[in-house]
Amino acid sequence: MPPTSDTPLAAGADADAARAQAPSSSQAPDKVVVQDLTVRYGDKVVLDKASFEIREHEIFGIIGPANSGKTSFLRALNRMDDFTEGMTVEGRVSLDGRDVRAWRNVYALRRRIGVVFPLPVGLPMTIYDNVALAPRLGGERNKRELDRIVEHCLQRAALWDEVKDRLDSLGSLLSGGQQQRLTIARALSQKPDLLLLDEFSIAVDPVTTMRIEDVLKELKHEITIVLVTNLVQQARRLADRTAFFLNGECVEVAPTEDLFTGPIKDQRTRDYVEGRFG
């Protein structure tokens, strides 16, 4: 790891820490608050009145079988419904206490939220350009600064050593696991303070998955991470608290270990984590 004192991520973390000073309880403040969130595609309700909160600097896991509304929650969070035909959102999602609908500039909102998709999307441009794209869109023109961001983000995503000699080859031609780490590097290049990972390990081999998981554990000291996964054990390894979604319903939100061994509100949660259905 390079020195982190003046890295963008560290700077973002400082700002977060400053914001976090206000409430003096021992519990970390809420990063994201979800109240009665309902998401529809056309007439079909995919997420029904979900309410929970995500705390600063935690890894918040979301588990649940297919079609349970996990991805729809992520899409509502960064207002993809603005760009998606037929997707409607009701209820309230707030980021740092501010309703995401109240952001007049949706692009500024999305810049603060990094997203990693299930299938890696290496954009059809060079590795360097993939990572430099977000800073460039944000107006960064200084070549040395861009070089620094690219190297830093690729290192954070555990990809630098493999690609540092071929930064000008195409990002879309990397292997699946490499592309996924490239996607993570790209998400980090936005200097997000919230990172959304949507089943990131589907197309990644187990060794790479473990490397990325290690990266995530380190990153959570600087940013807040939402980890959507259908691997129950992955949530158990990484998440501080976890929500269980089922058929559009947010069944349970609890400290992750509680889902497996502690007190729970709903028997369906235990059934799912123990593999009795789903």
């Binding site: 999307v121 059809p124 790209r186 936005q190």
Partner: protein
């Protein structure tokens, strides 16, 4: 136990038959192309020379070259493309990247399809009414090129839109999630990856435009002009109309002349197509995903 059954054998024979049939059909497609080219080369070949390309027609168009018509066709095509490409690409961008899927968009799409189906002679009459008379451009390159532009627009739009739609949606989503606006996404991801298809569509359109006769004969093309056009307000000769004239309207034309004109015209078109194909092969070699 691995012996083939009677049914297996029959399937195999039928498969062979179909294959042969489809292959024969495909080969038959090539026959007219070869025949046309062959006839043109044999009958028109003797007419071709540098003089033929670079001199004016003489003796009431029964001798001499095709130079003014050649230049006129270049003028007409160039001006038509200058008008239709920016408009067509902009419209395709809107339809592909911005337009919501609503009634208006569907009506627009329907209109484009129907515009593509309008016969060229109807375009010609529209051009006379709209550009020559109403806008008072007179019979001029401008009026003729505008008519050609209207005619080529739907093809440019459809080719451009298809090319943009072939860029995977996931690329756009990845870009949007980074906080890119739609325009930034178009500029950095969609256009760089669809430009080859767009250019291919445009070049193919050029070759089609070069051969059109009906839309220009009432709007700006002249039977015979002893001088080259100086601006878009002038009339001009054109290869396609010139071919029509020397083949049917002028008595006493030696047989090799119209074939020569046709050979030059089709060579222009084929050269364009070759450029287009070469370009596509070059860009496909650089395919990025």
């Amino acid at each position: 136990m691995f012996e083939s059954t009677a049914l297996n054998d029959k399937n195999r024979r039928v498969e062979k038959l179909w294959r042969l049939l489809f292959c024969a059909m495909t080969v038959m497609l090539v026959v007219p192309v070869l025949l046309i080219l062959g006839v043109l080369v044999v009958k028109g070949g003797p007419a071709i020379s540098m003089d033929f390309l670079f001199t004016d027609p003489t003796d009431g168009m029964t001798a001499g070259g095709v130079f003014p018509a050649l230049i006129g066709t270049v003028w007409l095509v160039a001006v038509a493309l200058l008008l239709s490409v920016p408009l067509g690409v902009a419209a395709a961008l809107y339809l592909s990247e911005y337009a919501p899927d609503n009634l208006l968009t569907r009506i627009i799409n329907l209109a484009i399809i129907n515009l593509a189906g309008v016969p060229s002679i109807v375009h010609a009459l529209f051009g006379v009414g709209a550009f020559v008379i109403f806008f008072q451009f007179g019979t001029s390159i401008l009026a003729a090129s505008l008519t050609l532009a209207v005619m080529t627009l739907p093809v440019v739009i459809v080719a451009t839109r298809e090319s943009m739609q072939s860029v995977p949606h996931a690329f756009r989503e990845a870009c949007w999630n980074m906080g890119a606006t739609r325009w930034q996404t178009i500029r950095h991801v969609v256009l760089p990856n669809s430009i080859s298809g767009i250019l291919t569509g445009v070049i193919l359109e050029v070759s089609r435009t070069a051969g059109e006769t009906a839309p220009i004969m009432f709007t700006g093309a002249a039977l015979f002009l002893p001088y080259l056009p100086q601006s878009v307000w002038d009339q001009t000769m054109a290869m396609s109309l010139h071919l029509f004239v020397v083949a049917t309207q002028v008595p006493g034309v030696p047989e090799h002349l119209p074939f020569g004109v046709a050979l030059v015209l089709i060579s222009m078109v084929l050269a364009m197509n070759a450029v287009s194909i070469g370009f596509r092969m070059y860009l496909r070699g650089k395919k990025k995903w």
